[in-house]
Symmetry: C2
Subunit: 693 residues, 2 copies
């Protein structure tokens, strides 16, 4: 499959290999490598750089003396010299040491100009050299000066992808084909394809991957056993040269489900011993194994509650098993009662994670991270930020984003999510006064926590373009870039991705960047309004169904009636959820006068005639947004159509077909939502546009 | 499995085998059998009778001279003498001939008293003797005089069960476990269990069975091939002694999907030859094979439309292949556009079957039957009768009922469907003036058609009690009894079933009959109101979701808004569907003044304040019905609870658990539907009961 696919430019994603018209700079014609000989990551870095030079110029760079392992003199001719600090020639080492002195992470890299036109790429660790190599490859492809000095250190230690892949080859919430890792109940993969995937990930700085669904089914429960571990190890081996450590999602009830113990009680010594043995076994096969990802006591998954224990008991028991090996436990905070009663307007799923985990703050061991979804519900197109960010102060936390577009168009709609993620990262929790952003929280800096990170639920499958919709590659790219550096600008990322992916025609770059940047606002406009969410078909979550979840047990209600709509989550008259935020955020959301329009219906139940800050009534806003949202998609289609002939026909047609389909889907959303509200309230559109009765 | 299950009284269903306190009448102590020696059906009849006598009295009846095959003298001592007409002793033959003279069907049987206290059971065919034997067994168990003269001829030639079983062992719309016929992609069954199933079916007169789902998937498509036919034949062999002929659901695209032809065009001679060869092959394995059941051009199934042909072209081609062997084609009329647009209020799925098939009336060959669902939509709890009954006059038709409770409680709710079916059978189409009932149409009598029948979608799986809910056995029983004799009274059938199943305690009989007779009205009361239907969760169809299908592509809308609800299907202002009925039915439904309340919203869109014939407004009716419906279930629970100790504890607890669960489900329905309408219109309950806002 790999060979067939490589002919397709989509397969290369943002690592295109076309020759560059201007060739490569002089320094790129030669290279030198310094570091531990035979280190797979360092070798990989060198090979990637050489491959990029060869692709750009038609010629491999000459390898100079100063080969890996040789800490001799610095090269005397202009070249790209890359290596780990300890192995550098003494002349170079001092400057490198100085450049990297302030870098928090061993994965940081520095680029230094060298006298005579050379470039040095240095890091304390081989992985840093690898990230630096991909940084230089970006510069090469973007025509930027290779030697421009810079130091880059990842803001987050863990930059992780969570794969919701099942052993049967399906992917939960996957919209890009079947799993890259599994077929028919077996760990069974195309090594070349997985390596190609690993390099895509490494090129954006991802360093960890959970290889199986957090909903751990029967077969995946056995991944911990001798029958499966050799295969898990093989998969880990494919990722290793790219600096990516493998994690397993584990079933909390494994000792029971595997028939080995009568209990999974985390305080039972037999259970602790069982997991310790399991961890020892895993590390015998995979010495650099990352650790466990756990969904427990959530949506019918087993957990410590079964035994009257709490999440800290459960997580710490696993953490003790992993600690001797340097592994960590990533424990998901996505815990709520999924058998709620729609009749009870005081019950509020949004409150659940905070209510569950705040009392446990400080009780988790240092090698536990709590993985928290960006919002309190579940990856809706618009949610406030989870108040656990800034709430927890004595617990390691990770931010969980959803790259796969479960609720944001399922890769049938283009929906570039980086602007949403950026709002999340920049959100000021005010936990320790102004500037207490989510980015500062999850990096661990705000509270000086030893660990932190960002995880994204992968949007990748075995489709030739990895992500189903070619433009959805931009989401994967942006996730990695933001996880490395949350200060990046989403528009800038979009531009960079477009140039790397489609080349440097400014007309193309403007159009694609424009489509990407317009896409999330458009999707929000033509779907559920003003933060209310959940107007989707139950189960698969595709397409509009305004009351599909209204009377369910999932805690996902909007309470629309003949007068108004929205959820009262205020302290004064509602569920009290606003009280989970620090001031001044708490008051901002609590009061109708200050609550941002885009979250109005998340926090308040208001009449359709309520006037927004925008000056429009709620109902008129709904109508306008839905007509405007469709217009935005029509514009995207036109903008893309004008690219015909400017990009390769395969990718042009592939995206064109999805965009044309998106128009139909957007129209369906528009008409259903407008009609739904019109049928509720009977208020006509003041601009007289057609709303189906 | 068979052995384990037989200890459970539920497994015996209505063929209980407890000893009778009064033993058996004198005549039952001896038996004689006349007919072709070794005929499996006749032997089966004799064995069933002997088994029943043995169970009732502890002793097998003595077999007198006049054994099968011996047409000698009539027995001279009181006995039960059974046999086929041609083999009877001459003394008996004349009286039997006279009794059966008026019987239309060879499956008719007559019971005659014989001088000296004996009883004769006679038929023209072995199957008739079998049905008569089960008739005598009923008499025996019910304590009725064995010798009471009677002649009974089945009103419908085909009395058929359609199994929607898949080769993977699942059952589409099945609520009673896994398939009895398949496991893991194979035809793989427990012979004893299938035989036990066959005798249950024969005991209620069923004589045909389609063994696989009308949605024919990949594996089932291959049932026509040499690889599978020996196994199909084995299954047919298990049913044969009970007079049941096996049918296959076939995939119209079989020649293409099996890779043997490039087309499935019914007018292509290669296709006709292919099917002729397939039929020849099948009959080599199964000489008494029944024929094909076909769902074509419906819900994404392939059909003749693909090739620009019509249903008559498709059905007749298959019919020609089967005709030389005496087989028939049962072609489903369930054809509609399942990609409808909810915006278009003129489009109407209810019209579809009539619009499709009326133009073809007279074009179908004599060995084709058109199988028509009772209503124009899809087995909702309340629909009008399909206007194709009485519409088609030159086509053989069958009535399709759904025994499995897809939309009527999924065997979690008790819902005895015979009263609904009875209304359908008694519905007067006025096609040839008064008295043109559906029963007369489907039997073939009204238009003198050569063939007719009734099919029920089976509600059976491998659960120990066959039907999941023990009381759902009554639906299977009633289906068979009504298919044999549509003039039977549903309450009488309920009583008969209860006495056979639970014994003769009058307290038990009254309670169970009461529960059964109350159940369909209750279910209707607490679910979707006034014939509007479809307020269910999409996909699995369980539980309330008032707008779950409102904006779908399935053509299933109710158009509720802030003013009113219902579908205008009138000729004057709506879809014109009422025009598909003969007068006076057409006018009855067309006009608000005469339209029956229970179908009001099926035919008219009315304001919530519209006053029904009952004197209530629509909205008040909705509220009242939903409160009353729950009360009815609460009553059922109490009524059942009082049976503790009067029936065996296993069945008592099993039904108790389901009834208690039903109360919760009914409450959920009540509250969702009441709140839904309250939120639409804001009109409070005039009796002040609590409706959640």
């Amino acid at each position: 499959m790999t060979n067939i696919s490589q002919g397709d430019l989509d397969y290369r994603a943002w690592l295109q290999e076309s020759p560059l018209p201007d060739g490569v700079p002089e320094a790129a014609r030669r290279m030198a490598v310094f570091g531990p000989a035979g280190h797979p990551v360092l070798e990989c870095a060198a090979a990637e750089w050489a491959r990029a030079v060869r692709a750009a110029s038609g010629e491999s760079p000459a390898l100079l003396a100063g080969d890996a392992g040789d800490a001799g003199d610095a090269p005397s001719v202009p070249c790209v010299a890359m290596g780990v600090l300890s192995a550098l020639p003494s002349g170079l080492r001092e400057a490198a040491q100085e450049a990297l002195a302030g870098a928090h992470s061993d994965e940081a890299y520095a680029v230094l100009p060298v006298d005579g036109g050379g470039v040095a790429l240095v890091s304390r660790a081989p992985a840093g050299v690898l990230y630096g190599a991909f940084h230089l490859i970006r510069r090469l492809r973007l025509g930027q000066p290779l030697g421009e000095p810079c130091v880059s250190s990842p803001r987050n230690d863990l930059r992780m992808l969570d794969h919701w892949d099942n052993a049967d080859g399906t992917i939960e919430r996957g919209y890009a084909g079947r799993s890259l890792f599994y077929r028919a109940g077996q760990i069974d993969f195309d090594e070349g394809r997985v390596r190609d995937y690993a390099r895509l990930l490494a090129s954006i700085g991802v360093n960890a991957i959970a290889i199986n669904n957090v909903n751990v089914h029967e077969i995946e429960t056995r991944f911990l056993t001798e029958a499966y571990l050799p295969h898990v190890a093989r998969l880990a081996g494919a990722f290793r040269p790219y600096g990516i450590r493998v994690f397993l999602s584990v079933n909390f009830a494994s000792p029971v489900d595997l028939g080995e113990l009568p209990t999974a009680d985390p305080l039972d010594p037999r259970v602790e011993a069982w997991w310790r043995a399991a961890a020892d076994r895993i590390y015998r096969h995979i010495p650099d194994f990352g650790g466990f990802l756990v969904k427990a006591d959530s949506e019918f998954r087993p957990g410590p509650f079964t035994y009257g224990r709490d999440h800290a008991d459960g997580a710490n028991m696993l953490a003790r098993a992993l600690a001797p090996h340097g592994g960590v436990v990533i424990w998901r905070a996505f815990v709520y009662n999924c058998l709620m009663d729609w009749r009870d307007r005081r019950a509020d799923r949004a409150r659940a994670a905070y209510d569950h985990f705040m009392p446990l703050d400080g009780r988790f061991l240092d090698n536990v991270l709590l993985q928290i979804k960006n919002g309190p519900m579940d990856f809706q197109v618009r949610e406030p930020v989870s108040p656990l960010f800034g709430g927890l102060s004595a617990t390691n936390v990770m931010l969980e984003l959803q790259i796969t577009q479960e609720y944001t168009g399922q890769q049938r709609h283009v929906c570039y999510l980086a602007p949403m993620w950026k709002q999340v990262l920049d959100f000021d929790t005010h936990a320790r006064g102004p500037g207490s952003t989510v980015a500062e929280v999850v990096s661990g800096r705000l509270y000086g926590r030893p660990r932190g990170g960002m995880a994204g639920v992968a949007n990748v499958g075995d489709d030739v373009n990895w992500t189903g919709h070619s433009l959805a590659q931009a989401n994967l790219y942006a996730f990695g870039r933001l996880a490395w550096d949350p200060s990046l600008d989403p528009a800038e990322i979009a531009r960079e991705w477009t140039r790397l992916t489609f080349g440097d025609d400014p007309y193309v770059v403007r159009a694609v960047e424009g489509i990407l940047m317009a896409s999330w606002p458009a999707y929000e406009a033509y779907t559920a309004p003003l933060g209310v969410g959940w107007m989707v078909n139950p189960g698969h979550h595709d397409g509009p169904n305004p009351e599909g979840y209204e009377y369910s047990k999932w805690g996902t209600y909007h309470y629309a009636d003949w007068q108004g709509v929205g959820v009262d989550r205020t302290m004064a008259t509602g569920t009290g959820y606003t009280g989970q935020y620090h001031e001044p955020v708490r008051s901002l959301y609590e009061h109708l006068e200050t609550c941002p329009d885009e979250l109005l219906l998340f926090f308040h139940h208001v009449p359709y005639t309520h006037v927004l800050h925008s000056g429009k009534t709620v109902i008129q806003h709904i109508y306008d947004a839905h007509f405007d949202g469709v217009e935005a998609v029509v514009w995207m289609v036109e903008a893309w159509r004008r690219l015909e002939g400017r990009i390769d026909p395969v990718r042009f047609e592939r995206v064109m077909a999805r965009l044309e389909d998106q128009v139909q889907r957007a129209i369906e959303w528009r008409d259903v939502i407008n009609t739904y509200f019109y049928r509720k309230c009977g208020i006509p559109d003041e601009r007289g546009r057609h709303i189906y009765p």
